[in-house]
C-alpha cells in the first residue's frame, strides 16, 4: 500500500507540472482556436534558462547566493523570457495568419516547434544538461508519512503549481484582463466592436500561457534533473493530452487532465512497465477523444449554419 501512495504522490506532482503546461496551451486555444504545437518547446526553453541561472551563480555545488533567492531568480527569469518569446512568436508567426484557413496556423505552429527544437540543438548541443538539484536543495527535508516521502522539491512544485493555478483562475474570473480574455475567446469580432484591444489581449494571453510553460520547465528541471532539446516535444505531447482530455479551452479541464495524465503515467510506470507508459497514455487520449470528443469538462460546440 505504501508503494501505491508513493506513486500517488509522484503522480500528483507530475500532474501539477503537466497541468501548468496544459493551462497555457488551453488558454491559447481558447482565445485563438489554435493548437500551439510550439508550447512544449517553450517549456524546454524555460528548463534551459533555469539551468543557465544555476551555472551563472556558481553551479550547483558552489552557489554564490542563497537558494531561495536562486529559485526566485530562476522562476522569474524563465517566466519573463519565455513569456516574451511566446509574445514574439505570436506577433511574428501567428498574427499574420489570424484570418487564414484553419490549417495554415497549425502548420506554422509545427514549423515554429521544429525550429525552436533545432535552434536549441544548435545552441546547446544534444547532450543532457544536469541540474543536480540534490546538491543545493536537501531532498530529505521533506515530509515523511509512514513510508511515503514527499521530498522538498515535490512540495515546492505542488505549492507553486497550486498557487499559480488559483492565481490564474482569479485572474481570468475577476480581473478586467480576464474578462477581456473571456470575451475574445467567446467572439473575437464582437469583442473588438465593444472596444476591447484584441491584439493586446491575445498577446497578454500568450505571455501568461508561455510564462506558465517557462515556470513548469524550471520545475521539471528541478524535479527530473535532466534537460535537453527534446524534452519539449514529449512534455508538449503530454500537456496536449492533458488539455484535450480535460476539454480543450477549459481551464479547470486542463488542471483535471494534467492530474489524470500525471497519475496515469505514474501508475503505469509503477505497476506495469515504463516501456508502455507513453503508448498507454496516448491510447488513453485516443479513447477519450472517441468517446467524448469535447473532453471531460468541455462543452460540445454547436455548429452554426
Amino acid at each position: 500500500m505504501a508503494f501505491f501512495f508513493q506513486e500517488l504522490v509522484n503522480g500528483v506532482t507530475n500532474g501539477a507540472l503537466y497541468a501548468l503546461v496544459a493551462l497555457g496551451f488551453s488558454m491559447v486555444y481558447g482565445v485563438l482556436k489554435l493548437l500551439n504545437f510550439a508550447h512544449g518547446d517553450l517549456y524546454m526553453v524555460g528548463a534551459f534558462i533555469g539551468y543557465f541561472v544555476i551555472q551563472w551563480f556558481g553551479g550547483p555545488t558552489a552557489l554564490t547566493i542563497p537558494v531561495p533567492l536562486l529559485l526566485l531568480i530562476m522562476f522569474i527569469l524563465a517566466a519573463g523570457v519565455v513569456g516574451g518569446l511566446g509574445v514574439a512568436i505570436e506577433r511574428f508567426a501567428y498574427r499574420p495568419l489570424r484570418d487564414a484557413p484553419r490549417i495554415a496556423p497549425l502548420i506554422t505552429a509545427i514549423g515554429v516547434s521544429f525550429f525552436l527544437e533545432n535552434a536549441a540543438l544548435l545552441l546547446f548541443g544534444a547532450q543532457y544538461r544536469v541540474y543536480n538539484t540534490a546538491d543545493f536543495i536537501s531532498l530529505s527535508s521533506g515530509i515523511q508519512i509512514g513510508s511515503v516521502t514527499i521530498d522538498s522539491v515535490q512540495i515546492m512544485v505542488l505549492v507553486l503549481g497550486l498557487v499559480l493555478m488559483v492565481g490564474l483562475r482569479e485572474l481570468v474570473n475577476r480581473t478586467k484582463l480576464g474578462k477581456q480574455m473571456r470575451a475574445v475567446a467567446a467572439d473575437r469580432e464582437a469583442a473588438e466592436m465593444l472596444g476591447i484591444n484584441v491584439n493586446r489581449t491575445i498577446a497578454a494571453t500568450f505571455f501568461l500561457g508561455s510564462a506558465l510553460a517557462g515556470v513548469a520547465g524550471v520545475m521539471a528541471g528541478l524535479l527530473f534533473n535532466q534537460v535537453n532539446n527534446t524534452i519539449g516535444f514529449t512534455a508538449g505531447l503530454f500537456a496536449f493530452t492533458a488539455a484535450v482530455v480535460g476539454g480543450i479551452g477549459s481551464l479547470p479541464g486542463a488542471m483535471l487532465g494534467g492530474l489524470l495524465i500525471g497519475l496515469a503515467q505514474s501508475f503505469v510506470t509503477g505497476y506495469i512497465s515504463s516501456t508502455y507508459t507513453n503508448l498507454l497514455v496516448f491510447a488513453l487520449l485516443i479513447v477519450v477523444m472517441l468517446v467524448r470528443p469535447s473532453g471531460l469538462l468541455g462543452r460540445a460546440q454547436l455548429q452554426k449554419v
Partner: protein, 479 residues
C-alpha cells in the same frame, strides 16, 4: 507547369470564388510571350505532360546521375509519392492528418515482415505489395473512423497521437518480431517474375514508374465523382451532406487512398534500404512530407511532386557539402534581394553597403585583435576566397556564432515588423549577421541547419504564400 491548371473558369468553381479564380488565373500566367507559351503548354492536356515529365525523369540516370546523387533521387521520389498521397487527405478532402507518416511506416514494416528472415516469410513483391497496401487501406479506414465525429483540430490531435503511438509501438511492443529500436534488417529486394531489383538504378526506375502511375490514378480520381465529393466535403461538410454526398464514406475513402500510396512508398523504401527502424518514421519525417506539400502547394499534384523534389534536393543533396550549401545559402539571399528589392538603385545601395560594412568591420576588428578574425570562413571553394577579408570569423567561433544566431533571429523578426526606410537600413546588418552565423555555425552543423531550414520553410511559406509555389489561393468562408 501545373497539372491542375484549368482554362479560364466560365462559372463559379468549387473551392474558389469566381472573381478570385479569374484574378488568380490572370496572375498565374507570366507576362508577354512566356505567358503565351504557358497557355500553349496547358492546352496539351495532363497526361502527355505527365508522360513527358516521367520520361525526362527516367533520362536522368542516363546522363550521369549516379552514386550519391542517385540516392538523393530515390529519396526525392519516395518523398514525392508521400506528398502526393498526403495531398489526397489534406489537399482534397481537407482532413489534417498528422499521423500520415505512420502509414509509410506501416508499409515499410509490413513489407519487411512479409519479405525477410525476421518471421521466416519470403513473399515476392507481387504477392506482398497488395497485402501491404490492402492492410494499410484498412488501417487508414480505422484511423479515419474518428473523422466521422471529430472535425478540424480534434482530428489533427488524434492522428498525431496515432503517429506517435506507431513509433512507440514499433519501439517497444513484441521486440522479437518487430525488433524494437534495432528494427528489422536483411529485407529482401523487390523481386517479380524471377527477377530481383538490387541496384539503385533499378529502384530509381521503379519509383519513377510508381510515382507516375499513382499520379495518373489520383488525377483520374480527382476529376471523378469521388474527387468532386472530396472537395465538396472540404468546403462545407454540411452543404455536401445536404446534397446527398455520403460525407463519412467520402472522408474514409480519402484516408484509405492516402494510406495505400504511403504504404506502397514504404514498401519500396524498406526494400531499397534493406532495413527499417522506428526512428525512420518519426515526426521529423512527417514534417519533411508536410514541407514538401506546403512548398509545392496544397491541393495540387504537380505542386506536391515539385515541392517534394525541391525539399529533398535542399535537405539531402545541397546541404551535405559545405560548397554546395554555400551556393544555396548565398544564392537564396541574393535571389530574395533581387526579387524583393526595387528599384535597382535601392538593391545596389544595400549590396554596396553590406560589402562596405563587411570589409570595414573586418579591418577594424582585425586591427583590434588578430585572434578575432583568425578563424576564416568555414565554407569551402571560391566562396571562401571571396569572403576571407569580409566576414569576421573568430578563432573559436562557436560561442560568438551562437550569440549571433539568437541576435539574427531577433533581427529577422524586427525586420518583418518595421516598415519603410528603416527596414532597408536594417537589412544591411542583417545580411552581414546572417553570413557571420552561416560561416561560424550553420555550415559546420549541416544536420541541424537543414532541420532549421525545413522549419523556416513551413513558417515562411504559410505567411508569405500559403497556396505554395503551384497551388491556387482558396477563399474560405469566415467561420
Amino acid at each position: 507547369m501545373s497539372l491542375d491548371s484549368q482554362p479560364p473558369p466560365a462559372g463559379p468553381q468549387v473551392g474558389a470564388d469566381e472573381w478570385v479564380a479569374r484574378q488568380a488565373h490572370r496572375r498565374e500566367h507570366l507576362p508577354s510571350w512566356l505567358g503565351v507559351a504557358q497557355v500553349r503548354l496547358e492546352r496539351i492536356g495532363w497526361w502527355p505532360r505527365l508522360a513527358i515529365a516521367g520520361l525526362a525523369g527516367s533520362m536522368l540516370p542516363l546522363i550521369g546521375l549516379g552514386g550519391f546523387q542517385l540516392q538523393v533521387g530515390i529519396d526525392a521520389l519516395i518523398l514525392a509519392m508521400l506528398a502526393v498521397g498526403l495531398n489526397v487527405v489534406v489537399g482534397w478532402a481537407g482532413l489534417l492528418d498528422l499521423g500520415y507518416v505512420a502509414f509509410f511506416g506501416f508499409g515499410a514494416y509490413g513489407f519487411a515482415l512479409l519479405s525477410s528472415s525476421q518471421v521466416g516469410i519470403h513473399l515476392s513483391a507481387p504477392a506482398s505489395l497488395p497485402v501491404v497496401m490492402v492492410g494499410a487501406a484498412i488501417l487508414g479506414l480505422l484511423v479515419g473512423l474518428p473523422s466521422r465525429r471529430l472535425i478540424g483540430d480534434y482530428l489533427a490531435i488524434v492522428t498525431l497521437f496515432f503517429g506517435e503511438a506507431f513509433v512507440e509501438f514499433t519501439n517497444n511492443v513484441a521486440p522479437g518480431t518487430l525488433g524494437g529500436p534495432n528494427g528489422i534488417v536483411g529485407i529482401d529486394p523487390i523481386s517479380a517474375f524471377g527477377k530481383q531489383i538490387t541496384a539503385n538504378t533499378g529502384y530509381y526506375y521503379l519509383l519513377v514508374i510508381l510515382l507516375v502511375a499513382s499520379m495518373a490514378v489520383l488525377r483520374l480520381l480527382d476529376t471523378s465523382r469521388t474527387g468532386r465529393a472530396w472537395r465538396a466535403v472540404r468546403e462545407d461538410p454540411l452543404a455536401a451532406a445536404s446534397m446527398t454526398i455520403p460525407v463519412n464514406r467520402v472522408k474514409l475513402m480519402a484516408f484509405a487512398f492516402g494510406a495505400m500510396v504511403a504504404a506502397l512508398a514504404g514498401s519500396v523504401f524498406a526494400a531499397q534500404q534493406i532495413s527499417v527502424f522506428p526512428t525512420d518514421f518519426d515526426t521529423p519525417y512527417l514534417i519533411l512530407i508536410y514541407a514538401g506539400l506546403i512548398l509545392g502547394g496544397v491541393g495540387s499534384i504537380a505542386g506536391a511532386v515539385t515541392g517534394a523534389l525541391v525539399v529533398t534536393v535542399i535537405y539531402d543533396g545541397l546541404l551535405r557539402s559545405p560548397t554546395d550549401s554555400g551556393y544555396l545559402f548565398y544564392g537564396l539571399i541574393l535571389l530574395t534581394l533581387v526579387v524583393k528589392l526595387r528599384p535597382w538603385r535601392r538593391l545596389g545601395a544595400v549590396l554596396a553597403a553590406t560589402a562596405a560594412l563587411g570589409f570595414a568591420a573586418h579591418a577594424i576588428v582585425g586591427a583590434i585583435s588578430a585572434s578575432a578574425v583568425a578563424g576564416g570562413p568555414q565554407s569551402t571553394g571560391w566562396i571562401a576566397d571571396v569572403l576571407r577579408d569580409w566576414v569576421i570569423v573568430p578563432a573559436n567561433p562557436q560561442v560568438p556564432g551562437n550569440y549571433g544566431f539568437v541576435l539574427l533571429v531577433c533581427l529577422l523578426i524586427a525586420l518583418v515588423q518595421i516598415k519603410g526606410r528603416w527596414r532597408t537600413i536594417l537589412l544591411v546588418p542583417t545580411i552581414y549577421l546572417a553570413s557571420f552565423v552561416w560561416e561560424t555555425r550553420l555550415v559546420i552543423e549541416p544536420a541541424i541547419t537543414r532541420q532549421l531550414m525545413i522549419g523556416a520553410i513551413l513558417i515562411v511559406m504559410m505567411i508569405a504564400r500559403p497556396q505554395g509555389l503551384l497551388g491556387t489561393r482558396r477563399v474560405e468562408p469566415p467561420t
